[in-house]
Symmetry: C2
Subunit: 302 residues, 2 copies
Amino acid sequence: MSLLVVGSIALDTLRMPGGKVYTDVAGGSCSYFIHSAAFFSRVRVVSVVGEDFPKKYVDGFKKCRADLAGLKVLPGETFRWHGTYHKDMNNRTTDATIFGVLGEFDPVLPAKYCDSKFIFLACSQPKLQAKVLDQAQGSPVAVIDTIEFYIKNDRKELDKVIRRCQGLFVSETEARMMLGEDNLAKCAEDLHRKYKLQFVVLKKGEHGGILVDKNGMTPFPGFPLMKITDPTGAGDSFAGGFMGALAKAGKTDGAALRQAIVSATAVASHACEGIGLSGLMKATAAQVRARANAFVKMTRLG
Amino acid sequence: MSLLVVGSIALDTLRMPGGKVYTDVAGGSCSYFIHSAAFFSRVRVVSVVGEDFPKKYVDGFKKCRADLAGLKVLPGETFRWHGTYHKDMNNRTTDATIFGVLGEFDPVLPAKYCDSKFIFLACSQPKLQAKVLDQAQGSPVAVIDTIEFYIKNDRKELDKVIRRCQGLFVSETEARMMLGEDNLAKCAEDLHRKYKLQFVVLKKGEHGGILVDKNGMTPFPGFPLMKITDPTGAGDSFAGGFMGALAKAGKTDGAALRQAIVSATAVASHACEGIGLSGLMKATAAQVRARANAFVKMTRLG
């Protein structure tokens, strides 16, 4: 079924442990989402870049068979994020955020996108996320992601738009902040109930996460990777794999959600194996399938 | 098959978030191990307490059908640990450690213990752990635990005794310290290979852990508990459930190790539901079984 993502496209500068610096790396939620979801589903994209955005990255999106009718090119600079990773890769510092044309982002859906059955609202201002839902027709499965900034500074609008969604992606820090509660299992369950959602995915990075739906809790570990080259975009790749798998299944029952966790874990692990999008671009569909199968097998306890 | 634990018995003072203080709470690795392993196997105990150790706790061990022939009562005070938990329960501060009679601990096995088929060397000086192995006859499955102190200060002896064991329990901090490596999956695999062990269990607290054996990796999540009352002894309870399940199975093949992870997770979760041993004492065998079954079911991804 049709899948729409609305979010950012960036050019990242990544300072890795050891001192190596990578500049003009394609990033942002949409870039990772497109390359991840592509293993399972075609993706419709609503985003914005500046005139400086390299053609090679657009060609990469096209190779993923993404529908780019909703990708605007505006005069000015592409959104830029500069980050430095610390030695253990679980900690990073944002050195700079330059909004560029993302500051003028107005998510207008091409008419043909309005019937999308699955919608991922990647992190952006809650009012813009709401505007996407305003344009959607029918009863899509809308899943939302956010960041600490909007939880702190735009909570009322954020709460309103979450209530209009079916699913929520949230990190452990965000979940604790939203509820003022430390226990993560309780956070996941409380968010599921409070916002009357079909499902919540509480993400714990390398430690996996907890899925909550009407059948209860599904705690899952992370994929044990021997080497993490670049964790940038792991969360957005997880979301891409998850939504891609749901769109492919065309449903959100318990089995589809668990399969989506498996697909998401597999693609996110590939995303971490190369700088920027290169880990995802190197991975073949067969490799992603093999890793997904390995993950199901290695986590089966009885 | 026969199961022996050698380790500490303590009287703990626990300062919980909110300010409540509990004194003279039975603790130490053996206390939690006995009450956890008892759900699966009888336990032979080698430990030491002072004359101040309350009879009610000894009665508790007897109710677990523990063999206490190796429990010495020496003139003097029982080992004491004072700790303060922070708000999120994952962090605690040690306020005081009073060794008392534990300073004179000399692990002499009663003759009838020497044929034990499964041996758990709870944390103590590596030389004392080695002394236990010196007394063991046949080819027992010996599993060792340690703490950062011995990794820092007695590494050579620790390495020697680990090489004599079949299994290793290690926390994420300890694993990183032992190898100077941040990646936990790599740590687990490197420890498995370096010490030529049958298996390694790398424990990540509420995030579960990673089991490594000759079949590969088994990453597992923690049990999603809605309320954690007291995490003291969760690691020792995990070890007790794990070793109890192995002793019950009488083997250490892949299926037995995965079942041991399940049993360990179930009892450790009960241990966290009451102050000190009370969570374990309240739990019935049927409740532990039900939780173990629930854990297998909730972690099955495909």
